[in-house]
């Protein structure tokens, strides 16, 4: 009964909104980070040191 009441509460609705935005935020952060790492790899590829 309490759970049903809580589902209808404004806090829960706001919670769903925060969850959606939060997960989107985490994925966007990681995706941008991923894209930058790929870009950095293209700009500064690994070059093995030449033996003397």
């Amino acid at each position: 009964m309490n759970i049903l009441e809580n589902i209808q509460s404004a806090d829960f609705q706001k919670g769903l909104e925060i969850t959606g935005l939060g997960l989107a935020g985490v994925f966007i952060f990681m995706a941008v980070f991923l894209a930058i790492i790929v870009g950095v790899d293209k700009l500064f590829p690994y070059k093995p040191e030449k033996a003397a």
């Binding site: 809580n6 806090d11 919670g15 997960l23 935020g25 952060f29 990681m30 980070f33 790929v38």
Partner: protein
């Protein structure tokens, strides 16, 4: 006769100050909990660096003494424990721990295969899932956010966020987070086996490419800038993590890096562990809320592990045959560094004794540290 009554009276006063006269069942239960922590740390080697200070702190916090202005308790203003506890309540121990973690973490596995970052994001469903469940269970939004962070499997992050959002629940949240981190080897393998097929468990991943020093140096700087622009509320933790990593990778501040990953993190771990343990006084800790927090904590670990593994399976649909990811590393998206990565390795070796997944699992593992700190920043931004 007078002398005997003098002795008797004083003995009675003395006894009234001892633990025998002041112990309650709550004290005894908490002392037993502290002893179990110490036993698990020593006999089973479950997170000993954390469980011994926390377990000992629980013993200190639950010494049954008479309140006579002795300034012994952690909640008595001006006591030694109270002063040390300010690092927890003000939230400056966790960022210092993150500094040390940054100085000891090698992000090469992640930089060499950056798509693994997304696994670290997927596992954060555990945080938000537990947050929603806590709301359903009647916790207020701030408390629910603090409870949800248990799913990040990152003790310092859990302490940081709960000290900001729900200080009264911090003891239970911290103990729950560290307990389940120690239980990762028990919680995760059955879920990993349940959600994967035998052919998926033996997928071999390409060996990681070599990462240049330039990339390693750019990584923490980019990470810091990204945090500043996208999740500024995550700066206390992520800023210190990336700073620690920069002093490690720059190659010119070796002494600073050694201090951050050695003496500094050790000192803070001791202070953090003992004060968090001591904060779990029976009157504050033995409540129905604590039981609910432990239940939600377990669920959050299950959700995080499940979503991490399922996300890899989903991701594999879009990857070429040679680039498939072994879903057994999906569990490592929860932080718990490096235990959850080790679990990937152990379970993987059960099905193919020459398929070493540890280096691959370290990618999502360190991404999980970043992901949980980002999630904490998001929750702090909305609920703080």
């Amino acid at each position: 006769m007078d002398f005997l009554s003098f002795i008797g009276d004083n003995l009675q006063i003395f006894l009234s100050y001892t633990g025998f006269a002041n112990a309650t069942s709550g004290h005894l239960i908490m002392i037993a909990v502290g002893l179990v922590f110490i036993y698990l740390a020593i006999a089973k080697e479950f997170e000993p660096m954390l469980l011994i200070p926390i377990g000992f702190g629980i013993l200190i916090g639950n010494i049954p003494f008479k309140d006579a202005g002795l300034q012994l308790g952690i909640y008595e203003e001006g006591s030694v424990l109270n002063i040390l506890y300010q690092g927890v309540t003000s939230g400056w121990y966790p960022p210092l721990i993150f500094l040390g973690i940054g100085a000891m973490t090698d992000f090469s596995a992640l930089i060499s295969n950056p798509k693994l970052m997304l696994i670290g994001a997927a596992a954060q469903f555990g945080i938000f899932g537990a947050y929603i469940l806590a709301l359903l269970w009647g916790f207020d939004p701030s408390q629910a956010g603090a409870i949800g962070i248990i799913g990040g499997a990152d003790g310092p992050t859990a302490i940081f966020l709960s000290s900001k959002l729900a200080p009264n629940l911090m003891g239970a949240i911290a103990v729950s987070a560290y307990s389940y981190m120690a239980l990762v080897p028990v919680i995760q393998p059955p879920i990993m086996r349940l959600l994967t097929t035998k052919s998926e468990r033996v997928i071999r991943m390409k060996p990681p490419r070599v990462v240049s020093q330039t990339e390693k140096i750019i990584f923490p700087i980019v990470g810091l800038l990204l945090t500043c622009f996208l999740v500024p509320s995550g700066l206390p933790l992520l800023g210190m993590l990336f700073f620690g990593n920069l002093i490690k990778e720059s190659g010119v501040t070796r002494r600073l890096a050694e201090t951050a990953r050695g003496p500094l993190i050790d000192v803070i771990t001791i202070l953090l562990g003992i004060t968090v343990g001591a904060s779990t006084q029976a009157t504050q800790f033995l409540t129905l809320s604590s039981l609910k927090i432990f239940g939600l904590g377990a669920l959050s670990f299950v959700i995080a592990t499940t979503t991490g593994v399922l996300f890899v399976k989903f991701f594999n649909i879009f990857l070429g045959k040679d680039n498939k990811i072994n879903p057994l590393i999906g569990n490592a998206g929860v932080s718990a560094v490096p235990d959850s990565a080790r679990i990937s390795q152990v379970v993987g070796l059960e099905y193919d004794s020459s398929n070493y997944l540890l280096m691959h699992a370290m990618g999502p593992n360190v991404a999980g540290v970043i992901g949980s700190a980002v999630a904490a920043g998001v929750l702090l931004g909305f609920l703080g």
